[in-house]
């Protein structure tokens, strides 16, 4: 079996593995965890033909620079992200919500997020990760999740345990939601501050 892996040439500011997270642990001080931007997390998985609950790489502001070694693989980036794919003899300006193929030796350089904090990188396959409470989601405060609960470091190897044969290139026309109105529901203390306001 060929060993397929990514090497982190640059880890980025806050790069972690994330998925749908974990429930029923609030009472011991463990939050939901999981991808911060659920919609883009799901879209990234969909674009590479994965099951929607598979782990992806989440990054904030500056993402990772990854070198890929192994068999052909499809990748996609979701969010509002500036990234490049470097192949042997050319460099491609990446578009979000479009899948690309990586070959042995190719690099993906996630330079920065644009009008959002978080972005997602999905691969057509599965990272080889240890799960805790059924989730890979990294919680750096309590060192829970894959990668010993720590964010990714420069110079580390990310092994893949499976590659899906799906080689379809997908593209969707999608604009990151522009929220103009945030709808809220009154909470229990909604009037609490009004009392002070009227004093």
């Amino acid at each position: 079996m060929i060993n397929n892996y990514f090497e982190t040439i640059r880890a980025g500011i806050n790069t972690t593995f994330q998925d749908v997270g974990r429930n029923n642990l609030y009472h011991i001080g463990i939050p939901f965890s999981g991808a911060m931007d659920n919609r883009n997390y799901l879209l990234a998985n969909r674009l590479v033909g994965n099951k929607l609950d598979l782990p992806v790489i989440e990054f904030a502001y500056q993402g990772p620079l990854l070198k890929y070694k192994g068999e052909k693989i499809t990748i996609a980036v979701a969010g509002d992200v500036i990234f490049k794919i470097r192949k042997k003899d050319n460099e491609i300006e990446g578009n979000c919500y479009e899948s690309y193929q990586l070959e042995n030796g190719d690099e993906i350089d996630i330079l920065s997020t644009n009008k959002s904090v978080y972005g997602y990188l999905a691969i057509s396959g599965e990272f080889n990760l240890k799960l805790q409470w059924g989730s890979c989601s990294i919680n750096t405060k309590a060192n829970i999740g894959s990668n010993d609960g720590k964010k990714l470091d420069t110079g580390q190897i990310i092994n893949l345990k499976k590659i899906n044969s799906n080689k379809d290139i997908k593209k969707i026309n999608y604009i990151n939601t522009k929220i103009e109105n945030i709808r809220i529901m009154r909470g229990t203390n909604f009037d609490y501050f009004l009392i002070f306001y009227h004093r």
Binding site: Y26, I28, G29, F32, A142, I144
Partner: protein, 224 residues
């Protein structure tokens, strides 16, 4: 008993047991928490018990406010529960390099270091809740003359294992974390262990805890 149930956002119930912070009220919260956990009610995806409130979060795709409220109101919490509370002993070393705020506390409480330590180790504590950081227990109640406010400027980093006091409570920092409690010692014991998925917390709500003073030598050799 629950005095009032209201919504907290669109996917949680806020059960109010009153405003008092005492063992009796908190025991009611814990009783509801344990019963709901054991009943495994469909759609509930998180329970957050505190001193005198219980937040019940649910999945809107499965259930709704009215359904869950109805089930909670009809709940019989007086059935005998399997959950057994533990009595625990936690070793703590109060050597100067661990007792970061003991001198500050002497001034705040107008008690000598020896008196503070004596009162602390003679006390039996009750675990009200865990959280803030994973596994951190909130243990009460300190006597009136041992109650101090938080630090005016919190520390950016409180060392893992630190044992601190604030107001009527003592706690243990299960991880290095920012925090403002008055630190009087450190425990070598792992109070939270995420590799034990079924029961990662050493101390759970309802448990009683006594601290036992150990020397620096004992502290260093504790995990050997």
């Amino acid at each position: 008993m629950i005095k009032n149930i209201s919504n907290l956002g669109d996917a949680a119930l806020y059960c109010d047991f009153g405003t008092e912070v005492n063992r009796q009220t908190n025991s009611e919260v814990i009783k509801y928490f344990n019963t709901i956990k054991e009943k495994n009610i469909e759609g509930i995806n998180n329970l957050t018990p505190s001193y005198n409130k219980l937040i019940i979060s649910y999945d809107l795709r499965v259930t709704n406010f009215k359904e869950i409220k109805d089930k909670i109101e009809k709940l019989n919490v007086d059935e005998v529960l399997k959950t057994a509370n533990k009595n625990l002993e936690i070793p703590v070393c109060c050597e100067a390099s661990f007792a970061l705020d003991i001198e500050r506390l002497e001034k705040k409480l107008n008690l000598t270091k020896e008196k503070i330590i004596e009162k602390f180790f003679n006390k039996e504590f009750f675990c009200y809740m865990t959280g803030f950081i994973a596994g951190m227990p909130f243990l009460g109640d300190l006597n009136e003359n041992m109650r101090a406010q938080r630090l005016e400027t919190p520390r950016v980093k409180v060392p893992k294992g630190s044992v601190g006091i604030t107001e009527q409570f003592a706690n243990i920092y299960t991880f290095e974390s920012p925090g403002g409690w008055n630190i009087i010692g450190n425990t070598p014991l792992e109070v939270f262990d995420s590799s034990k998925e079924k029961d990662p917390n050493l101390i759970n709500p309802g448990d009683t805890v006594r601290f036992k003073q150990i020397t620096l030598e004992e502290y260093k050799n504790y995990n050997d």
